[in-house]
């Protein structure tokens, strides 16, 4: 519901102010108009879902998010925010894991799907 309210009544017509080197990098990868919307249409649309690459990325990504959240016993808000706020060492371990996964993903996994 928050998402509906934000998109219907609180829209900002300006693009997201991304770092210029991020935009340049994404252009090199083949993602144009970086920051125009919340996400690249070329990767997240029903059109891309009907391609093998797009389908694999969406389904695999979602599966990893769900499986990883349960295995790690929490997600960004559970570990990075609530866990760290409660000074939990296990949450810090989980956040280190988030970054290992995230870095592997942007460097090796993502280029396969763009």
């Amino acid at each position: 519901m928050g998402g509906v309210i934000a998109s219907q009544f609180l829209q900002n017509p300006k693009p997201i102010q991304l770092n210029k080197s991020t935009v340049a990098e994404l252009t090199d990868l083949g993602i144009e108009d970086a920051g125009k919307d919340y996400l690249p249409e070329s990767l997240f649309s029903w059109d891309s879902f009907s391609t093998v690459k797009g389908f694999t990325m969406l389904v695999l990504g979602g599966f990893l998010v769900g499986f990883g959240t349960r295995y790690a016993g929490g997600c960004t808000s559970g570990h990075a925010i609530s866990g760290l706020s409660n000074l939990q060492l296990p949450s810090l371990t989980a956040v280190v894991g988030f970054f290992i996964g995230g870095l592997l993903s942007v460097h090796f996994l993502l280029p396969l799907f763009v």
Binding site: L39, G97, L104
Partner: protein, 137 residues
């Protein structure tokens, strides 16, 4: 009516994450490339505020709306599940640009393709339930 408070907090959460651009795939990409302070600023300020609030709640034995003391269970003292599970989560987070909360918020924002991501995430949690006993924790 008991659930109205949860609904309100959820709505505020959804608006905040949208306006703070946390639901943006680009912001997540930028974070994992260490090219912007944006996400670190948002998460960092949330943690600083969280530390203060939790410290205050413990110090003053603060009670919640239901009259019970506010307490947060400590996490288990193991590390394999956190590191391995966290890494798998990170792989998916960077790929989809969405952690569980934003998946719902993106659908609310009209990105209906995230229904696919939601469905596969639910299948992911279900699969964890099936193989849980065979995994190291």
């Amino acid at each position: 009516m008991k659930f109205v408070k949860f609904l309100l907090v959820g709505v505020v959460f959804g608006i905040t994450l949208t306006k703070a651009e946390i639901i943006s795939w680009y912001r997540i990409y930028e974070m994992f490339r260490f090219q912007s302070f944006h996400m670190y600023g948002v998460i960092g300020s949330a943690v600083v505020l969280g530390v203060i609030v939790i410290w205050f709640a413990k110090k003053t034995s603060l009670k919640g709306m239901n009259g019970d003391f506010i307490s947060m269970p400590a996490k288990e003292k193991v590390w394999v599940r956190y590191l391995v599970g966290g890494t798998l989560f990170g792989l998916g987070w960077a790929l989809t640009g969405a952690c569980p909360g934003p998946i719902y918020i993106l659908i609310g924002n009209g990105f209906t393709i995230f229904l696919v991501v939601l469905l596969s995430a639910v299948i992911g949690t279900f699969t964890y339930g099936l193989v849980r006993d065979k995994l190291p924790h």
